[in-house]
Amino acid sequence: MSSHRFAVNVTPKPGILDPQGRAVEGSLGHLGIEGVSAVRVGRRVELTVEADGAAAARAVVERLASELLSNPLIEAYAVEELEGARV
């Protein structure tokens, strides 16, 4: 068994209204920032998996990401393996 550290990045799918992203965008003027658009607010979940090898660990994360961490109707996710298994 080995330890594997992952991040799951969950973002609203293209075309899904993201009022949070719009609110962030709306605030940029107050900071005097120009030229920023298409802000999308998502969520990042980091986790450690004990499994028999990297492939098995990734399979666990994929299942977790698709069944719990994201709602496939409205959100997309990307799994990212992080350096350094132990936190």
Partner: protein, 249 residues
């Protein structure tokens, strides 16, 4: 024999007592079902009440979806059992895939607690038949994530198959347009406030009929919905009725 209707209690449910009371007014014998129990105690129908099940962490309704009681509710629904999800209960049903679509953050980003008007699109379902006539119904909403979303082909199919059962409307009952923030409070697509599953036996509804089920609460417009559920469950118990058929086949 009285009709036994189960009200699921999750940690964070906060409309369970109101729902028990509303169901009593509607003529049922309500039964509390704790989220950790896998048995539904032989109830004739199930209501998922409003609140913030499991704190609404991650996404509203998603953690509740994996509770022992929800596995039993899903099996009950598969067998044609009547299930009504109100507000957070609708979010749980949507996350569990028991009704189509998803509930997004309100377009205003604000939590909204106020009265709204909805109209029943159909009066021949187990959740609406006792309403009697198509008229505007006044009842409260209390939610932060109530913006109904499904993709366009799904929305077209829902409308074609009669699965849109309630819509937000103006106070006079006229249809709410998409950007009418007063009438369509959360920006729901096609002003959808309530939907049915394909079998017509599971209904998700954002507004709170139980908070409008007695004159002392300021409105009795919600009691017809609860009474429909109770009478439909009684009819099913007697074997006299089946949920309304939805769609072509």
């Amino acid at each position: 024999m009285s009709v036994r209707v189960g009200v699921v209690v999750f940690p964070g449910s906060n409309c369970d007592r109101d729902t028990l009371r509303g169901l009593t007014v509607a003529g049922a014998e309500p039964v509390e079902l704790w989220h950790e129990q896998a048995s539904l105690d032989g109830v004739d129908a199930v209501v998922l009440p409003g609140g913030f099940a499991y704190g609404d962490y991650l996404r509203a309704g998603v953690i509740a979806r994996f509770s022992p009681v929800m596995r039993s509710v899903a099996a009950f629904a598969d067998e044609g059992g009547l299930v009504l999800g109100i507000c957070n209960g609708f979010q749980v049903l949507a996350e569990a895939g028991l009704v189509p679509g998803a509930l997004l953050r309100n377009r205003s980003l604000r939590f909204l607690g106020r009265d709204v008007t909805i109209t029943p699109e159909r009066l021949d379902t187990p959740f609406t038949h006792a309403i009697g006539e198509r008229r505007p119904l006044r009842m409260p909403i209390a939610h932060g994530e109530g913006c109904y979303y499904a993709d366009d082909p799904t929305l077209d199919a829902l409308e074609r198959d009669g699965q849109v059962v309630f819509r937000y409307a103006r106070a006079d009952g006229a249809a709410a347009s998409g950007d009418d923030g007063m009438a369509n409070p959360n920006g729901s697509l096609r002003a959808i406030a309530g939907v049915l599953n394909a079998g017509g036996n599971v209904c998700g509804l954002m507004p709170h009929p139980e908070r409008a089920s007695e004159a002392v609460l300021g409105s009795e417009d919600g009691i017809g919905i609860l009474r429909s559920l109770v009478e439909s469950a009684a009819a099913r118990e007697r074997g006299a009725g089946r949920p309304a058929e939805v769609g072509a086949a």
